[in-house]
Symmetry: C2
Subunit: 259 residues, 2 copies
C-alpha cells in the first residue's frame, strides 16, 4: 500500500483538487484507492457528497480513540464515493479543535500512521488531503506518508510561503527513519499572465531537483467537476487539466508500473 | 476608528487580496489605514515586503504579553508599507502555535480587540486578514471588528463551506454585545464558466440580505500586483478587479462618507 499526502500551508493552491483528480485516475486504472480528508473544513468530504458536520466516525474518531489510549478502527469509518474503486475516510468539522485539545500531548502525531497500518490488505493507494495550516493534522499526514506532493500556485506570493513549507518538511523529515521525498507541483498555471511563466522560472531555479517537469494548467473544468460530485477525470475525461494530472501520475508511478 | 475583518475558513478565496486592495484604496483616499495580518502563513506580511519569520514584535508579541497578564503595545509593532498612509502590523509564523499554547485559556479571545483600543487616535481604518482556519486567531478578529467581509469564490464547493462559516459567525455574534454584520463578497467570478453564474444565483437565493450586490471578477492583474509588493490599486489603478473593489468600498462607506 502506497501513501501520498498533498500539503501546503498556503490556501487555495489545489491540494484537494490534486487528491480528487489523482484518486479518480488511480481508481479508474483498477487500483483500490482510499482518500483521507484531514481538513476540518471538509472540502474533499463535501465534494464527494458527504457532510463534514454529520455524525460520528471518520478521521475524528481515530483521534478520540487515541486520546483514550486505543488505536481506532479506520475501516469502520470508510465510506463509498460516486466512483468505483474510490473510497473516503471523511473529515469532521470537530477536527478544528484537535490542536487545542491534544497539541502538546505525546504520541498524537502518529494517529493516522497507526490507523492506516490496519488497512494495508484493503487498499493499494492512500491519498491524504491536508488543511492549509501547520498543526497536528499536517504533522500526522507527513508522518503517515511516504511521499508528499506540494501544489504551488505559479504566482509570486506563493513562492515566499513555499520556502517555509520546504523548511517545515526538512524539519519533520529529520524525525523520520527514512527521508520523505517531496515533489512541488506547479498548479493554476495561466500562460496569459506574466506572473505564471516568471514564477515558474524562479521555482525551477530555486528547487531544480524537486519541481515536477511540467505544470497543471488553469482549467475551468475543475470548478465544474465539483458540481457533479465526481472526480475530475470521471466528469471531464478529456479536459486539459485532467490530462496534465495523468502525466503527473505516470511520472509518480515511474516506468515500472503499468498506467 | 473603524475595524473590518476579512474571514473565511476556505483557503484561497481572496481574503488577503481583499484586505490589500481595500487598504490601498482607503489610504489613497487620505484615510490613515492599518492592516493587521493574523495569518501564521504571513501572505499579507510577505506581500508588503516584510518577513513573517523575522524578529520580534508584530501580532505575536501581543499574545505573548497577554499570556503574561499585560496588554501589549500594538503601536510598537507597526511597520511601514510601500504605500503612503498604509501601515502594517505583521504576522509571525510562530502564530501557528497559539492554539496549542493558549487555546483553552480564558480571555485570549480579546487580545487583538484590547490592543487596537490603544490605536484609535492614530488610525481611521483597520483591516484584519484572517487565516483559513477556525481557531483563536479568527475568534480574535471577529471579537475586534465591527463588520466582517466574507470573500467567497463563486464555485460549488465554496457554497458548502459557507454555510458553516455563517453558522460560526452567528455563534460568535451571540457572545458579543452588539451584532456583527457580515457581507458576503463574491470573488474570482469567471463568466467563461457555468459554475460562476450558477453558484452566484444560489448564493443570492440563500443569503439575499447578506450578499454584495455585485462581484469581484477574475483579474490576472491581482497576481501581477503581488510582484510589485504594492496594493493592487497602486500597481494597476485601471484594472477591472480594482474597479470592482472601488465599488465595494463605496457601498461599505455608505452614501454619507466621501469617496
Ligand atoms: N488547475 C486548476 N485550474 C482551475 N481551477 C483550479 C485548478 N486547481 C484547482 N482549481 C480550483 O481552485 C480552487 C481551489 O482549489 P482547491 O480547493 O483544490 O485548493 P486547496 O489548496 O485544497 O484549498 P484549501 O487551502 O482551502 O484546502 C477550487 O475552486 C478549484 O476548483
Ligand atoms: N479577483 C481575483 N482574480 C484573480 N486572481 C485573484 C483574485 N483574487 C485573488 N486572486 C489570486 O488568488 C490567489 C488567492 O488569493 P488570496 O491569497 O488573496 O486568498 P486567501 O483567501 O487570502 O488565501 P489563504 O486562504 O491562503 O489566506 C492569489 O494568487 C491571488 O493573487
Ligand atoms: Mg483543500
Ligand atoms: Mg490570505
Amino acid at each position: 500500500m502506497r501513501v501520498w499526502a498533498s500539503a501546503n500551508q498556503k490556501g487555495g493552491v489545489g491540494k484537494t483538487t490534486t487528491v480528487a483528480c489523482l484518486g479518480g485516475l488511480l481508481a479508474e486504472s483498477g487500483r483500490r484507492t482510499l482518500l483521507v480528508d484531514l481538513d476540518p473544513h471538509g472540502s474533499l468530504t463535501g465534494y464527494l457528497g458527504h457532510d463534514p458536520e454529520g455524525g460520528e466516525g471518520g478521521v475524528y474518531a481515530l483521534f478520540q480513540a487515541a486520546a483514550e489510549g486505543r488505536v481506532g478502527d479506520a475501516a469502520a469509518g470508510v465510506v463509498a464515493t460516486g466512483a468505483d474503486g474510490l473510497w473516503l475516510l471523511p473529515a469532521r468539522t470537530a477536527l478544528a479543535t484537535l490542536d487545542r485539545q491534544f497539541g502538546t500531548r505525546e504520541g498524537m502525531g502518529l494517529v493516522i500512521a497507526r490507523a492506516l497500518a490496519g488497512l494495508t490488505a484493503r487498499f493499494d493507494f492512500v491519498l491524504i488531503d491536508c488543511p492549509p495550516m501547520l498543526g497536528l493534522l499536517m504533522v500526522n499526514a507527513l508522518a503517515a506518508c511516504e511521499r508528499v506532493l506540494v501544489p504551488v500556485q505559479t504566482e509570486y506570493l506563493a513562492l515566499q510561503g513555499l520556502d517555509r513549507m520546504m523548511r517545515t518538511l526538512a524539519m519533520v523529515t529529520r524525525a523520520r527513519p527514512q527521508p520523505l521525498p517531496a515533489l512541488i507541483v506547479p498548479t493554476l498555471f495561466d500562460r496569459r499572465t506574466r506572473a505564471s511563466p516568471e514564477s515558474l522560472r524562479r521555482l525551477r531555479a530555486r528547487y531544480p531537483q524537486q519541481t515536477w517537469r511540467s505544470v497543471i494548467p488553469v482549467d475551468t473544468r475543475f470548478r465544474e467537476a465539483t458540481r457533479a460530485g465526481l472526480p475530475p477525470s470521471a466528469a471531464y475525461p478529456q479536459a486539459r487539466g485532467v490530462q496534465a494530472y495523468r502525466e503527473l501520475l505516470a511520472d509518480l508511478l515511474g516506468p515500472g508500473e503499468t498506467r
